[in-house]
Amino acid sequence: MKLFKRAGILMLAGMFALSGCSGGGGESKNQTVNPDQDANFNKTGLPIVKEAVTLKMVSPKAALAPDYSKMEIFKRLEKQTNVKIDWENIPDTDFAEKKNLLLASGDLPDAFYGAGFTDYDLINYGKDGTIIPLENLIDKYAPNLKMLLDRRPDIKLAITAPDGHIYGLPSWEENKLDTNPFFHVINKNWLDKLGLKLPQTLDEYTQALIAFKTKDPNGNGKADEIPLSFMHMQWCSDIAGIFGAFGLPDNLEHRIVREGKVIFTATQPQYKEALKYIHDNWYKQGLIDPESFTQDAAQYLAKGKTPDETLGSYVWWEVEEVVGPERSKDYALLPPLKGPNGDQMIGRNNGGGPGRGSFVITKENRYPAMTMRWIDQQYDPYMAAQIHWGPLDVVFKKDEKGKLVNLPLPKGVSAGEFRQKVAPGTGNPGVITFDDFGKVVDMEPRAQKRAEYLEKYYTPYMKKENYASIFFEPDELDKINRIEPELIKYVNTQRGKFIVDGEVDEKWDSYVKTLEKMGLNELMEIYQKGLDRYNANLKNK
């Protein structure tokens, strides 16, 4: 009797637990409004809805930026479309954490804006229905985006998940600036003082560094000159460019493509050669700033601004930022150097395609069609430019040809600071293609200058091929995520050790063996497979 009672209580408890579950979770509370029967909704033209409708969006926000609801550009959009956005702005540094919390707890907004969804997020949350496929909505309700995707099949391919759906919308400025971020800079003033000409070969460069170290070019009687400083394996400040002088240019991923074949640079003989040279000729002689392996950007940038000029040579994609505008005339860019065997080339960055997770619509959204029409506004190149850099009449004005040109800045504010305050900024929805630059909007003056330098100094020494930003299958992505971070970390640590300690010949074989043990071959196979598939798809389009 007692036993029955107990069993009964247990069963009751179980039933409660079950009913609790299905009541709480399960399908979304909202039913999607059928747009064709919604009298409030305009399928074309503006405003999008007759009576104001509110959508809830979560978005990251730069630290200096105000709440998006107070941002001029969004106020205008609201007036035009009659769609009110209830913004939840999260400081960009905490965004990833909060986004994952919202997704994991099912506390979903209507859409994530500037969403920063990784491929992994897109596939997983797409698969379980948390975010909805967008391709049909794009066809029906997003004329601007549709036009863009029709015109540029490569963009469409880049944002299409392996299962054929589009879950996230693109974000891109196709300015071709990121092909090579490693601008090698040398102190021209010191070269002149020491009677040296601009180095053309690696050996001449080494001689110049030695002279910088030993001949007191800044004339203060102290040996405080830093011949060469850089940031080990960091974006835009590493010496990966130098490796081209040995016949095989490198990049931060150590992955390049030659005639459709993926090559891992960090196990190649040329890479080994380069490490040996750098250790023997530079590190051993004290030509490399030892802090190059540890410093952060703030320390690095401060080195160029010491009271006495101490920096001889450095890597950064803009001269002024390191040494300040006044000293920048002392410094000159160094074209790729000729190596011991006459090789002269520079690496090329991988990827560089559109970002694909900048806008997603969740299953909680009752008005996906309306949301799609709203976001499509931003795929008009004019609007995209304003979202990325700032609104008309605040940052831009239209010239007689209808192109957006920069207005003068308010006094005492830097452009970067000002733009953060008036527009969401780069990385947000919207695509400005290469064709749009010069027609719709000018590149920022500094970016333009960089593009010119790139064209003049580096592009001629660059191979065309790189590894596109490919959307992988989930299981491939799993494998890459499992193998690659550890492997790259190991390669980079070893690179630092080889440069500092030498002993390249002695330790090379065990280094390569360790990489193979870590799954290098499997990783390269996945990359090769992905590339082959990508190229085949591109041909079919």
Binding site: L64, A298, G416, E444
Partner: protein, 298 residues
């Protein structure tokens, strides 16, 4: 005899000297970082990075403080932090003391069961997402309550206070009071609380420091920037200069961010730690007494 005394005092002297030297070194080790933050807040950021600043401010500037004092978000954060810390401390201390007192008394039925439950919660928590969902379902998201209520009555604090009560308020006192016709409530208010000032002061300090330094709850539960406590505002300022390399597309804004950050980083540390530095000396005299008694016989 005389000699022995002399030798001993010599040894004592050396012991004292060594002691003082060691303590001075420790003191300098503790004080110097504080002092460095102070002088760094008055120096040119570039000189700090090139290692020129180490004992006196160089490139003297008040720009950092100027920016801090003109930045409204810092002041809003200050006001919020004071509100959260005072309200949170009030609730937290009240709950802690009220929970600890009955658990310290002999007559409470089911005492050990309650203690068990409390202890279990000390070692196992629901985890971030269930907690978030709970706060959400209680409709406390984006309100002050999400910060001050869930953490009230921490078990560890309850144990400290309970032990304090057990060891300083003898049962005989209650017997004597009850013979005189004192009720339980009256006894708690008029006898227990006045005798427990030191442990309450310690609890106040624990809570104030906790609320003042805490940012994670605010980060998770608050959406509205005007509700951010000071530490979250500061965190947003400080983490600005940790550049994510792949996101570093807009160099210009990166440089702008960095200059601002470097300029105000140290000043902000000064401004934010000042209230606690001021508060601590007033509570310090209770501190040793309160914590020591509370921690013995746990």
């Amino acid at each position: 005899m005389n000699q022995l005394l002399k030798r001993k005092s010599k040894g004592d002297m050396w012991f004292d000297i060594v002691n003082y030297v060691m303590l001075t070194i420790v003191m300098l080790l503790v004080l110097f970082p504080l002092y460095f933050v102070l002088i760094a807040s008055l120096s040119d950021p570039n000189l700090i990075y090139s290692g020129e600043v180490w004992f006196f401010p160089k490139g003297f500037t008040l720009d950092g403080y100027g920016r801090i004092f003109s930045d409204s978000s810092i002041w809003i954060g200050y006001a919020n932090s004071i509100l959260y810390a005072s309200l949170g401390t009030l609730i937290g201390v009240a709950v802690t003391v009220c929970a600890a007192y009955p658990l310290a008394r002999k007559g409470l039925a089911g005492k050990s069961v309650i203690m068990w439950f409390l202890l279990i919660s000390m070692f196992f928590s629901g985890g971030l997402i269930p907690t978030y969902l709970l706060i959400k379902d209680l409709h406390m998201l984006n309100t002050i309550w999400a910060l001050v209520i869930p953490g009230a009555g921490g078990v560890f604090n309850v144990i400290i206070v309970r032990t304090f009560f057990q060891s300083t308020i003898p049962d005989e006192m209650w017997e004597a009071a009850s013979i005189d016709g004192c009720s339980n409530t009256r006894f708690f208010w008029s006898i227990v609380l006045p005798l427990s000032k030191s442990v309450i002061a310690v609890m106040v300090l624990y809570h104030v420091v906790g609320f003042w330094n805490g940012f994670f709850d605010a980060l998770i539960y608050l959406n509205d920037e005007s509700k951010y406590p000071l530490q979250l505002v500061l965190r947003n300022i400080l983490v600005q200069n940790q550049a994510n390399s792949s996101m570093m597309i807009d160099v210009e804004s990166y440089a702008a961010k960095m200059r601002v950050t470097e300029l105000i980083k140290y000043g902000v540390i000064m401004v934010s730690s000042l209230p606690l530095l001021i508060l601590y000396p007033f509570l310090q005299k209770y501190f040793v007494k309160g914590v020591m008694i509370g921690s013995i016989k746990g």
